[in-house]
């Protein structure tokens, strides 16, 4: 608090000082300049933006201070705290400057503070939920607001007639109706601020919140109509004017919505062509949405409605068109702006209330208004709900109605409108201002404070936060189609029918027109969910996998009992890689021999977990392009590896299904036969089901290739590829990843040098078959990559399979072993364990110095020679070069990065 108020104490004084300065300056300008001033104070030149920045800073600091204590914020809504802070600050300003400063100006409020909040709520509105409940929302917004305005206004007038309001409040029926119209609207800012912390169920939230957004049109119309009636004087109002008033309701609301939709269309269309200037994408979103707001305001249409519709309408297409980065930027900027604006609004509201010169108190009016707005809100909700429940599938019960009535918060919109009143035309303005302030404060503070306990006490159905699941998405789509079909069958053109029609239309025309071709091609909700889930998995895997790796993977070589460590770490890795995703944990248990398993574990761990950045990025100094950062690429790559592994483990499970199925159907048996065939054939150890897996992997590719296509235009995204590869997977993996990560291989020089088959590669079955791979990849060969990939895939899969195959597939795997030195080693007793802590890991210094110029094959040989004497067993030879080799790679990479 102190911290926040410090600059304020200084400010008014400084402001006061500088107001006198200009008066002196003209006089002094005639005189010759007093020489070069060493220090000049130019407060008035920066005053306005400086103050704005300071206010936002104060608000932000206040927010930080509030959130230091979890206890306070869990009990008291932030909006209450901000209003109270505003009151205190206002008091300080008043005490220091002797006059009220920095109040909530209606102009500032409507032009700068309100749009971000409305845009944020419109853009992130759950559109499906919104349209599913559109009927109820519209009813409450239109009928409810009209009802509130007229009943409150009329009742207050009645109160005055009854003599309960002091006679010094000079107001006619029209004045009261005007006041009713501005005080009746539920405020989106206040509702959002309070309800976001309450977490009621989605339906309830969307109804209250949607109402608060859409009732703006009604409020604006009512306010304008009443205001002009008041200005004309009640005697001059004719019947035609009433009709005009009704007509203007439609003009203002539909016009506002139309303006919003037009701008949404423009926005979507513009973002379709920003492929080469990604950096301005977020800006476009804000600019066009703001333009929609200003246009509607200019035409005196409902600006809130315009921005809401703009956000609601454009989101789908914009999100599809703009890049992932821009999407994040839009999201964060929007949230930041909205939260800023909200904070400032509540704070200024508090400050404005201090200014006693603006308001005049009348207890009768204040208490009457408070009572009437609560009473008529409740009555209106009950009546409307009763009508609505006749039509609703899921009726709103009593508890919902209580929350809806109680959640009718008033806020800054009402305050700004009441400030805008003309004192000469509305003599009771000061009384109205005071009443509005009290109403706003009462609803925000008292109702805001109590609504949380109330919701708890009434046991309102809370929103259950589900993670979106793929199954759910699929089922919901099925439901939609079923419902549409049933409506078709019974010949009833209901909601589902029209929704279905709209989707058809959207798919056929709108999306074609507004979405980038590349985006449109893969745009599908189900696909979207699938993709998002994959990303989420990848991220969680990276989080966990990285951790596992650092604890076990890197200490691996120095551990004496490497065998067990390797095994447990891989098991852990798999187990933690995605809860339950690895269905087939026997992968570890069924690996055959000890050193085989060890080798496999090592191989697996290093392949899957160790990401070796092979690219070096050019420092990007461009202001116009943002290059993809390394972290993202790593995530992507590890994600793909993770997915491969997951799918692999799943495939083997699925494979079991085929075998275990008691009643095989024709298709299945055919499949089984094929499998059997492939297995017996065992050509290069490639069973047919690999193809299925490969297909799935190819899918991932299609998405990435979109980005590839897009990235090739911007030159900054070119990067150096350091041709260092992890040897165990050899070229296949690298080829594949090079393609997958969407990087354009621009460097024409061969950078992937395939290692000559090491000893281990010759001996261990899954390491064979590399000879036929492409020798290098350059930009020219990217077209061949699919072929290479295929080979690479088969190979890497067969390598994985030999590790990760369930018992029933054991036989084929075994059968494809070449001369099979391993089989002979099977009965190897575990006594060779002591040999394990090989000095091979203590790396020969000569190799470490070898540097990047050395090819891997040449590095292999001396290494091998060095190691061989240390080997106790003959069969160690096909393991150690590989492990050592991989070790060498790691070293090597370090060197390369430096």
């Amino acid at each position: 608090m102190l911290l926040a108020s410090l600059p304020l104490l200084g400010l008014p004084l400084a402001g006061a000082a500088t107001t006198e300065a200009p008066t002196q300056e003209p006089g002094s300008s005639g005189e010759p300049p007093p020489g070069l001033a060493l220090f000049r104070w130019q407060w008035h030149e920066v005053e306005a933006p400086y103050l704005v920045a300071l206010w936002i800073l104060v608000a932000s600091l206040a927010k930080i201070v509030f959130h230091l204590s979890r206890k306070v914020t869990s009990l008291v809504p932030e909006s209450c705290l901000l209003i109270l802070l505003g009151l205190v600050l206002g008091g300080i300003v008043l005490a220091v400057a002797k006059k009220a400063e920095y109040q909530l100006e209606p102009g500032t409020f409507f032009l700068f503070l309100l749009p971000p909040i409305v845009l944020d709520s419109g853009y992130f509105m759950p559109s499906r939920l919104f349209f599913d409940n559109l009927g109820a929302i519209l009813t409450y917004a239109v009928v409810g607001t009209l009802w509130n305005a007229f009943t409150t206004g009329a009742a207050l007038w009645g109160l005055q007639q009854a003599g309960l309001v002091a006679p010094r409040v000079q107001a006619s029926l029209l004045d009261f109706l005007l006041f009713g119209s501005l005080i009746s609207a539920v405020d989106p800012v206040a509702v959002l601020a309070v309800f976001e912390e309450v977490h009621v169920n989605d339906t309830l939230f969307i109804i209250v919140f949607g109402e608060s957004l859409l009732n703006d049109a009604v409020t604006v119309v009512l306010y304008k109509v009443c205001n002009s009636f008041v200005e004309m004087g009640s005697a001059n109002v004719q019947a035609a004017d009433y009709l005009k008033g009704v007509a203007s309701l439609f003009v203002v609301s539909l016009g506002g919505a139309a303006v919003g939709l037009v701008f949404a269309f423009l926005l979507a269309l513009t973002t379709r062509f920003t492929k080469r200037v990604r950096i301005i994408e977020p800006l476009l979103v804000f600019l066009l949405a703001y333009a929609a707001y200003l246009t509607a305001e200019m035409a005196s249409l409902s600006a809130i409605l315009a921005v809401t519709m703009c956000g609601l309408g454009c989101k789908k297409y914009v999100e599809a068109n703009i890049s992932h980065k821009s999407r994040t930027a839009v999201k964060y900027t929007m949230k930041t702006l909205a939260s800023c604006a909200e904070t400032v609004i509540f704070m200024l509201l508090g400050i404005s209330a201090v200014d006693s010169s603006k308001w005049a108190w009348d207890s009768g009016l204040v208490l009457g208004t408070l009572f009437f707005i609560l009473f008529f809100r409740a009555l209106g909700v009950v009546l409307q709900t009763w009508v609505l429940n006749q039509f609703r599938l899921v009726p709103l019960d009593k508890i919902d109605q209580v929350v809806m009535s109680y959640g009718g918060l008033r806020g800054a919109v009402a305050f700004a409108l009441v400030i805008l009143l003309d004192r000469t035309k509305v003599p009771a303005k000061d009384y109205f201002v005071a009443t509005t302030i009290v109403v706003v404060f009462f609803t925000v503070i008292v109702q805001g404070l109590t609504i949380k306990p109330l919701v708890k006490w009434l046991k309102v159905k809370r929103s259950e936060h589900h993670k979106p699941t793929l199954n759910q998405e699929l089922h919901e789509h099925t439901f939609d189609h079923i419902l549409a079909a049933v409506e078709d069958v019974v010949g009833h053109h209901g909601y589902h029918y029209w929704r279905d029609r709209w989707e058809q239309f959207d798919k056929k025309y709108l999306s074609q027109l507004l979405m980038r071709r590349s985006a449109y091609r893969i745009r599908d909700q189900i696909w979207d969910v699938y993709y998002r889930l994959n990303i989420r998995d990848a991220i969680s895997f990276v989080d966990q996998g990285g951790h596992v790796l650092s604890s076990t993977g890197l200490t691996l070589p120095s551990m004496p009992s490497r065998n067990s460590v390797a095994e447990t770490s891989v098991t852990n890795l798999l187990r933690e890689s995605g809860s339950g995703a690895c269905l087939d944990l026997q992968v570890i248990d069924t690996v055959r021999s000890v050193r085989d398993r060890e080798d496999a574990a090592m191989h697996h761990l290093l392949c899957g977990g160790l990401y070796k950045p092979r690219r070096r990025y050019k420092a990007s100094c461009s202001r116009h392009f943002i290059s993809e950062d390394a972290q993202e690429r790593q995530d992507k790559e590890i994600f793909q590896q993770n997915m491969k592994r997951r799918l692999e483990s799943f495939k083997s499970t699925k494979h079991n299904i085929c075998f275990n199925k008691s009643k095989p159907r024709p298709r299945k048996t055919g499949r089984k036969k094929k499998d059997g065939l492939a297995n017996t054939e065992a050509t290069n150890g490639k069973p047919l089901r690999d193809l299925g897996f490969q297909d799935t992997a190819a899918v991932i590719l299609t998405v990435e290739s979109e980005e590839e296509e897009e990235s090739d235009s911007s030159e900054t995204e070119k990067e150096d590829d350091e041709g260092i590869i992890f040897v165990a997977r050899a070229t296949s993996e690298v080829l594949q990843e090079g393609k997958v990560s969407g990087s354009l291989e621009v460097c024409p020089s061969p950078r992937i040098i395939p290692p000559s088959p090491t000893c281990a590669e010759k001996e261990l079955p899954w390491k064979s078959g590399q000879g036929d791979l492409a020798v290098y990849v350059s930009s020219e060969t990217t077209k061949i990559v699919p072929v290479d990939m295929q080979a690479g895939w088969n190979q890497s899969i067969s390598s994985l399979e030999s590790l990760a195959s369930p018992p029933c597939t054991q036989a084929p795997t075994m059968s494809r072993l070449p001369p099979c030195p391993l089989a002979a080693e099977e009965p190897q007793p575990p006594f060779d364990l002591p040999y394990d802590p090989r000095p091979s890991f203590a790396f020969p210094p000569s190799l470490a110095k070898a540097g990047r110029s050395r090819s891997e094959s040449s590095a292999d040989i001396p290494q091998q020679q060095e190691l061989q004497p240390l080997m106790g067993h003959e069969d160690r030879t096909h393991l150690s070069p590989r492990t050592a080799n991989s070790h060498w790679c790691i070293q090597f990479n370090k060197g390369g990065r430096l």
Binding site: T478, A485, E487, Y495, W527, L585, K654, I657
Partner: protein, 197 residues
Amino acid sequence: CWLYFFTVPVSSDQIEQLHRRFKQLSGDQPTIRKENFNNVPDLELNPIRSKIVRAFFDNRNLRKGSSGLADEINFEDFLTIMSYFRPIDTTMDEEQVQLCRKEKLRFLFHMYDSDSDGRITLEEYRNVVEELLSGNPHIEKESARSIADGAMMEAASVCVGQMEPDQVYEGITFDDFLKIWQGIDIETKMHVRFLNM
């Protein structure tokens, strides 16, 4: 429990309306055959059209047996199918709501489980997903398959959790299906509004 569906009074108006539609579909015949659904023009755009039409003739949905398809359905059968789309009544108690919910989900389950062995296998799931996505020509079959695979994996992890080493997930049983749907409201998702009149 399915008897419950018939105990709910359906207004005579509704039945009359449905009967008119039935006549219209069948061409004044007492029964509807599969071909009759070809006359519904709006249905053509539905990607899972064949599955839905099949559901109308599914003996399990018609409560006439545990498998197989009926050749034709009469008006009573038609009403039986329609009763799946009735809203959950506010006057129902908790148990009835659960039953109703179960019935609705069973309809969906039957649609997926095309060989009526009580299990949605991966093949069947893929089949459904492929049909669902068939509306979008830009999504290849492989994508659909990988989505089905992902969904199946997810289902397995939801239903079984951590699996034993030798355990194999053979497909989604109805119990698993219910588990997947746990906590998700279907009140609004399996209703046709006009049946509420």
